[in-house]
């Protein structure tokens, strides 16, 4: 009797297992900034991007059911960690996407590794995510501080901007960006004259700008993002920074920031991004779909949102190949095995440390008279190939890479 019961149980288990393999359920959680300084660069736009990825994937893979949920981490690491725990333990979320704000992202990377789920980072900048703090459960899409520093910093030093002063956002992201850029500047023969660290979400930059002005540095490097960058550039124009012969280097500027500044103020600004909505046909088509969902006048998608789309799509491919999303480490290993391919970033690879390699572009903001239609913001000044755009593996000190 016991034997019969035992084999019946085994049969049921097998049957369930078989059924499970056919119908795969995946839950993607977009953890982002919904209402504060990064909300227009990520936020609801990132949620839409994840939904578009799910939609596209389900069309070609009817056996995969993808659900997208979202939450606001309010730029606080403790709130973000709580949501992640709740998602992983109670709500059966398999993967967390986006997470702008490096401070929050570093915390999420740890939680994800502990629970053996997947973190596809597109929002955060710190290169530590694929450096000393790398985990076998993190994949970092879109950009990082090293790539920004290398792309923008190198180009500017080579054009004669060899003395720098930094306005740095006083948290993990700003510090990483300043560190990486200063290294590039000195390596290329430039000099860093000083830096001032301002609290995140500062509205008045005039006193910091005065200090930058007094430093007589040729280049004022903005190691900040979102609303902070906008305020600094806007007030810099007023204080005659550019008229006085100094130049801004926006180390992290997104297309929505340029929209907020207006071309009149932003013209001539040079910075590095890995994606721009008007780059090619694939991007333009995707942007049309995105804009229809976003349904707000004058909004353009940022590279973070594109990264959420591409990252989610690639994650789903890996899950479908494995037939299950249960083992986060295995899914990430699969993501590293298959090459990336999507209409936004093209073909690329995921490196052993979790870094996604794709090309980057040096953009310059157009003059108002050069802009032909809404959202026509950039000239492409240079293309940095994928193998040069990101930090060499050996320099990152990621424990995964050293074996």
């Amino acid at each position: 009797m016991r034997k019969i019961l035992g084999s019946a149980a085994l049969a049921v288990a097998l049957a369930c297992g078989g059924a499970h393999a056919q119908q795969i359920h995946v839950k993607v959680g977009v953890l982002t900034d919904m209402a504060s300084l990064y909300a227009d660069d990520t936020g609801i736009g990132s949620v839409i991007a994840a939904k578009l990825a799910a939609e596209d994937f389900m069309k070609t893979h009817p056996n995969v059911k993808v659900e997208v949920v979202s939450a606001d981490h309010q730029n606080k690491a403790d709130i973000g960690t709580n949501i992640a725990n709740q998602w992983f333990d109670v709500d059966h979320v398999d993967m967390i996407a986006d997470v702008p704000n490096s401070g929050v992202a570093l915390a999420i990377a740890q939680v994800t590794a502990q629970k053996n789920k997947v973190f596809v980072a597109s929002g955060p900048a710190t290169s530590d995510l694929t450096g000393p703090k790398c985990t076998p459960n993190t994949v970092h899409w879109t950009y990082d501080t090293w790539m920004l520093a290398n792309g923008t910093g190198k180009a500017i030093v080579k054009n004669g901007g060899d003395t720098w002063f930094f306005l740095t956002s006083d948290y993990a992201f700003g510090h990483a960006l300043e560190r990486d850029t200063a290294a590039v500047v000195t390596a290329n023969g430039g000099k860093v004259l000083g830096a001032v660290r301002h609290p995140i979400n500062t509205s008045d930059f005039s006193s910091f700008l005065l200090q930058a002005q007094a430093s007589k540095a040729k280049i004022i490097g903005l190691a900040n993002a979102g609303g902070d960058t906008i305020n600094a550039i806007k007030q810099g124009a007023e204080f005659g920074i550019v008229a006085g012969g100094q130049k801004f280097a926006g180390l992290l500027v997104f297309a929505p920031d340029v929209a907020a500044l207006g071309l009149k103020t932003a013209q001539g600004l040079m910075f590095t991004e890995t994606w721009y909505w008007d780059l090619n046909d694939g991007s333009r088509d995707w942007t049309k779909r995105w804009a229809k969902e976003r349904n707000a006048q004058g909004k353009v998608p940022s590279m973070n949102m594109a990264g959420v789309y591409a990252g989610t799509l690639h994650y789903l491919k890996a899950v479908a190949a494995l037939g299950s999303a249960a083992d986060g480490k295995a899914v990430v290993a699969e993501m590293k095995k298959i090459p990336t391919d999507d209409p936004l970033f093209g073909k690329g690879t995921v490196r052993i440390d979790g870094r996604v390699l794709h090309p980057a572009y040096l953009f310059e903001v157009k003059k108002p008279e050069e802009s032909k239609y809404p959202g026509d913001f950039y000239h492409v000044r240079a293309t940095i190939p994928a193998d040069e755009a990101f930090r060499p593996l050996k320099d990152g000190h990621c424990p995964l890479a050293s074996g």
């Binding site: 209402a35 509205s203 006193s207 609303g227 007030q235 007023e238 204080f239 005659g240 909004k299």
Partner: protein, 295 residues
């Protein structure tokens, strides 16, 4: 050129002036709050949202009506002030007799609603608004470059602050107002329409916030969050000055701007916190604020 604690004096003077400019915004905003609290006994947490509405109205006027900075400086406060009057008539007048807490919660809720609507339609990255052509450029003072616009901000703010103080403390109208808050029944017995006067006072306080908003539009990021970022600091300024004290709001507004400016030179990381440290100290030493009356 001499040095103070390792900082060149020229840099120090520059920072002092910058502090005064930021203080102008604190003073303008805390002035409106003080007027409203002094006359209506309402802690107006919608003030930040109304400041934001001033800036957003300026943006809308420019882009949809083709009206520039100067017309906006007059029209936006009137429009937002009328909106304030509506809020007073519909909501606030029912709760004057209740505890302060009810007014605080009601106005806080209104602020959340207004800002939420703003975020929904405008996003958070901000709206472009440039300097008026007539105030472009600046002059070199030797120790710093002073943009013309900032000079105008100080002048306008001082003028408005002094004007408001003068009306409330030195004119007959101000005397009626102050009397009405002390003893509304008696003032009404003299044939003065007290409820209307209170409504207009609220409208005026709100218009002051909108005025500050238009002043801020060309230099700060115009976004639905701009008010909530500032309002906490401004409340600290009002508490330091003494709740409801007009002179206290003005003096502590300018004073704290300067203190904050100096912090940005000596220890920039603390520049967001220094005002609250000052607030804690003032509350320990003088619980009613620097210029407040003990009740």
């Amino acid at each position: 050129m001499f040095e103070v604690f390792g900082i060149p004096s020229t840099a120090l003077f520059g920072q002092l002036l910058i502090g005064l400019i930021n203080g102008s915004f604190y003073a303008l905003l805390s002035l409106g709050l003080a007027v409203i609290f002094g006359m209506l006994n309402i802690i107006n947490f919608t003030h930040g949202a109304q400041y934001m509405l001033g800036a957003v109205t300026a943006y809308l006027l420019l882009n949809y009506a083709g009206l520039g900075y100067w017309p906006a400086l007059v029209i936006a406060p009137i429009v937002v002030g009328l909106l304030g009057i509506l809020i007073e008539r519909v909501f606030l007048r029912w709760i004057y007799r209740l505890d302060h807490l009810y007014g605080l919660l009601l106005t806080f809720g209104l602020a959340l609603i207004i800002e939420g609507i703003g975020r929904n339609y405008l996003g958070t990255a901000g709206l472009p608004y440039t300097l008026p052509d007539s105030l472009r450029g600046g002059r070199n003072l030797g120790f710093m470059f002073l943009p013309n616009y900032r000079a105008w901000v100080i002048a306008a703010s001082l003028l408005v602050c002094f004007g408001t103080w003068f009306i409330i403390e030195r004119t007959r109208l101000g005397a009626y107002l102050r009397a009405a808050t002390e003893n509304p029944a008696l003032v009404r017995a003299f044939g003065i329409n007290v409820p209307r006067m209170i409504t207009l006072t609220y409208g005026f306080g709100v218009a002051l916030a909108a005025f500050a908003g238009v002043m801020a539009a060309p230099i700060y990021n115009v976004s639905p969050n701009m008010g909530s970022e500032l309002i906490i600091v401004v409340f600290a300024v009002v508490v330091i000055g003494g709740m409801g004290s007009i002179l206290g709001a003005i003096v502590s507004g300018f004073g704290l701007g300067v203190i904050e400016g100096l912090t940005k030179v000596f220890y920039p990381e603390a520049s967001n916190t220094v005002i609250f440290v000052v607030m804690a100290i003032v509350l320990l030493v003088r619980p009613a604020g620097l210029f407040g009356r003990r009740t």
